[in-house]
Amino acid sequence: MSTDQNFETGLQGSSNKVAEFDNHDASFLKRFQHALHVTPSLVPLIVLLISLIIFGVLLGSKFFSPFALTLILQQVAIVGIVGAAQSVVILTAGIDLSVGAIMVLSSVVMGQFTFRYGLPPELAVACGLACGAICGFINGWLIAVMKLPPFIVTLGMWQIILATNFLYSANETIRSQDIANQAPLLQLFGEKIKVGGAVFTYGVIFLVLLVLMLAYVLRHTAWGRHVYAVGDDPEAAELSGVNVKRILISVYMLAGVICAFAGWALIGRIGSVSPTSGQLANIESITAVVIGGISLFGGRGSIMGMFFGALIVGVFTLGLRLLGADAQWTFLLIGALIIGAVAVDQWIRKVSV
């Protein structure tokens, strides 16, 4: 060892213990704060519960009935499914403005392939799902390989897909009665299971399963971890061995497929195939995602948060309507409550650090 290093003799006998401090976290409050900190999706859950309670108190059994509560689930099913797609994309620091358009085009494909070309509904559904996957692939390819900004790519694709939808469908609505008679499979997600007053559609069940599955995949598989890493810092992810392109393309394709499922669920919900649906899916899905605490800058947040976020909006909407607020007042109050919900979220997070 060179003489320059002789001060290092002082190292002999240095401590090898892990640093430890008094554990200040004994109290319930502290433990609660810590729980909030490590599980960020608890925050929107709490906001959700609080708003449920408030509306419950104000409205009584009109709101706190199994019927009304499951109605909220049905009303958020489509937004929730699209929001799941949006969440995965936003976790990579992207954004998908074409979700609504993909959803509608896929549902139109399912409908028209059955009725215009006479394909068996199973095959038409498969074509619809493939259509979603293709749209997603184009998004992903442009973003990952051509390195174009997601916002612009999906903005352009939104217009392209929507226009294609209008041109292809010739604005024809396929009527509910016809579907029920000839291809009930298309309405599968509209089937109901009744438990007492509670009504669960297959669409709602699909949403819950989808969210649980994505939560598992994002948390417990390598692919999921890579999604977070790409959203966090794509350069660092690339340098540390993540195939960023492959992840991005797979994310946008997955989003496309989920949107196609949303399109299928949409047929179940409204009964018919209508090319003018889904115009608000973008903004509503993004709202759900952000209220759910997923950062638009990527890499932070959980899909459960999105689910609670969508429910919060659903609860506010139904609650305010039942309270008798008219449409513009409802918009106004929902605007205020969106800001309020996020403010509460921020506040709880701050307390919990």
């Binding site: 001060f7 002082g10 190292l11």
Partner: protein, 258 residues
């Protein structure tokens, strides 16, 4: 003598991690105080707490004997405390000159500066180039380069130059030579001596023992979030200091030995 900058009972927790654990701190006028300690001992947290970059959970900071409540680094800067943070705190997309004068831009004289509020770019660029030359950062080819295009060491050089140019009361340097080359490190040490000779006290965090023992008047040894002891470099050897900070030896009993 009254310390110019003083901390008492500082506590800072991050979730379950305790970065500062009732830590005390003293900086006397005109001295160079080195702060040494293991990685994660809480050195950066300490200087952030005294420079307004984080607000401590408990404890007080005194400047010139008066209690101060810094709510942001701007407050500290307005009191003449200039800090080079370990993360350097620069805007990557802006130029070197823009970064050096951030928050204290120079305006053109006369009408254009007063009413059009136009910046005096040539002057700022000239000063920036001069300050960098003083530090011997000759490999910077273009003063209008964005900071993100600089090498790690060049970036650090820019941050140090900024602090040295503007600090009037206290200058805090958090590992200023970590990424610097031999030549550039030497210049920084010379600069530190230089600043000291202007009567401004300096806090220097460093892992480089030879540097620390060369320039420091007193050495604050930090361990597990608190001040373990303060020693004078001529009373102890480097190997003693290393032994204290790593817990291999017991520190001298009179805590404020030096």
């Amino acid at each position: 003598m009254e310390p110019i900058l003083k901390g008492r009972g500082l506590v800072k927790r991050y979730g379950r991690v305790t970065a500062l654990d009732h830590c005390d701190f003293d900086l006397y006028p005109g001295e160079i105080l080195a702060v040494i300690g293991d990685n994660g001992a809480g050195k950066s947290s300490l200087i952030k707490a005294v420079s307004g970059a984080v607000i401590p959970d408990e404890g007080d900071v005194y400047l010139d004997g008066k209690k101060v409540n810094f709510h942001s680094p701007i407050d500290a800067r307005n009191e003449g405390i200039e800090t080079v943070y370990q993360t350097l705190a620069m805007s990557p997309a802006l130029s070197i000159a823009d970064n050096m004068f951030m928050g204290r831009e120079l305006r053109k004289p006369g009408f254009r500066g007063k009413f059009l509020r136009q910046l005096d770019r040539p002057k700022m660029e000239k000063i920036a180039r001069d300050k960098l030359s003083e530090l011997g950062l000759m490999t910077i080819q273009n003063i209008n380069q964005a900071v993100e295009t600089l090498s790690g060491g060049q970036r650090q050089g820019v941050a140090v130059a900024r602090a040295a140019a503007f600090g009037s009361k206290v200058i805090i340097l958090d590992e200023p030579t970590a990424a610097l080359g031999v030549k550039e490190s030497r210049r920084v040490l010379e600069l530190i001596q230089d600043v000291k000779s202007r009567g401004i006290p300096i806090i220097l965090i460093s892992h480089n023992m030879p540097h620390v023992f060369e320039v420091a008047d007193r050495i604050h040894i930090h361990r597990l979030g608190k001040r373990l002891c303060v020693i004078k470099p001529d009373e102890y050897t480097m190997s003693d200091a290393v032994a204290f900070m790593t817990g291999a030896k017991e520190p001298p009993t009179e805590k404020n030995a030096a």
